[in-house]
Symmetry: C2
Subunit: 331 residues, 2 copies
Amino acid sequence: MTIKELAQELNMSTTTVSRVLTGQEKKYRISPKTALRVRDGARKHKFEPNQIARNLRLQETNTIGLIIPDISNPFFANLARTVEIELRRRDKMILLCDTKDETSLEKESLHLLLGRKVDGLLVAPVGKKYDHFIKDSKVPVVLIDRYFKDQTIPFVTTDNYQGAYSATKFLIQKGHQNITCIQGLGHTSVNENRILGYRKAMEDHKISNFIRISGAGYSIQNGYESTRELLQKRNRPTAIFALNNQIALGAMKAVKEAGLHIPGDVSLIAFDEQPYFELLSPALTAIQQPMQDIGKVAVETLFKLMTGETVKNQMLKPNFIERESVKSIES
Amino acid sequence: MTIKELAQELNMSTTTVSRVLTGQEKKYRISPKTALRVRDGARKHKFEPNQIARNLRLQETNTIGLIIPDISNPFFANLARTVEIELRRRDKMILLCDTKDETSLEKESLHLLLGRKVDGLLVAPVGKKYDHFIKDSKVPVVLIDRYFKDQTIPFVTTDNYQGAYSATKFLIQKGHQNITCIQGLGHTSVNENRILGYRKAMEDHKISNFIRISGAGYSIQNGYESTRELLQKRNRPTAIFALNNQIALGAMKAVKEAGLHIPGDVSLIAFDEQPYFELLSPALTAIQQPMQDIGKVAVETLFKLMTGETVKNQMLKPNFIERESVKSIES
DNA sequence: GTGAAAGCGCTAACAA
DNA sequence: TTGTTAGCGCTTTCAC
């Protein structure tokens, strides 16, 4: 059923029907009687306005594109959930794209979304290139988690530098010196800042000779393989700093398979927190990101952008959770 | 830039432009020269056809609605990922709705999606009511994970009965009798079938007097609270069967907090498999669902439906993974 | 208080 | 081989 058919049935113009259905009866002083008839008719026929037609006419879709690297990574899954809830409150829907951390898929997603005339874009970019966001995107976009240096696209993220610094410092204070980082994707801001924090802590404590960075990729696989290699080294690290939850998982697996123990043989700290970390063997010491807040603030920022307000970048504070995966070393 | 503007600039009709841009130049025998000019012009101006207008005209949106109860549950996050990949291959996009397992939000989502004229619906329903899917949905829908008995909406799911039966049988063969189930949402088919499998195994082994079902909800919270209660009982179970991954997590947490041990004090089996299960303390014995297949088959089924083919329901086989969370009891 | 009609950007039937 | 035109379903300007 279309608005035209409904109007015909009620013997009035589509204009009138449209007006009451979009809540403008006051504005146009439509008689209560007419309004009632319209509403009744609409209900009776279960009339649901065709949003596509509406979108075309109004030049807005009430749809936001969400571009993330991996929805099966609990970090992003949780983020997606918060975003969904926040957007629903504002009567917007999500078009979801998973880029598998591939720039080509990211570009494709961007154009697909732009073609569908989304009103805004929330994106955790792959991070390798960003020209497409600068040049092609005519709609407001806010970056989540990862951002681009020297670019003006607003972002909301965790203070990764700070988080990594305090984790590394914690290890050092426990007596560790031979601390290796297993990193995610080297070109992402997230990774860079975590590395920077790690590096700075090492330098501040005069052990920059021990700085080692290994691996590439935010995956269980990478954590696993990198750790396997590390464990075979002559000068095996006493502590591993895994730069996300997946890497930490892979690292644990490798240690276990090697017949070694955490923290007895190696200590481990993870960036990211997950509900099951406290149940692992041993319970994992971790840096928790304020995920709820990230999602909330990102949506708020996007809406400000869409209404032309000025926005500022947000760097939210992480939270250190000490558990059992780090051993004290006597010096 | 619109197709009209582009056509004007090229001094030809929108028809011609449209035809070459939609790959119909052969069909209409458009001269190669013209086709080339169109393509060049489009590239030069970065023309991207307005999909909204296209959708309105074509009466199809190339969009599929995905309705799930909780995207932060890794089971559904993984499902979403597979679905995304499969749909992208077919040039469709996902509109994502998270219902928080609330029927009201599910209904709302359905109408929102219908209003946006999605071409099809993939839904893991809350399961309490389903009238809205039967009556209101004019587009093809396939149910994932959960389904409705006595209804004709096609579904793809795991053989939950079978999975639960074999898990229970496994426990019994290890000498357990006092086995309690912690369930998810009682009204879901998933839950019912798992309970049925559990029940049948208990009955087949003449220990139906030990049948106990506790809890309500697919959450960590529910697993935690239910287990706490169970542990305080005089006749505490020797084994717990957690009906999903979240419940299992909560159960482990409660056992740990009570100062007890798995499997020494209680054995535990989880429905669902997660990458970290093997790293928990102890490694969790689990029933693995073929998640990739579920997503793939669901998308295939939906497409058959959309092209008018006949489809049949699918019940995929689960896989039992024995690890360390079950103790043998001497009789 | 209500309605006629234009137009959002595209495709396709029909015409040439 | 190309173009004219109607129309997808809605909102809104302008007119009454």
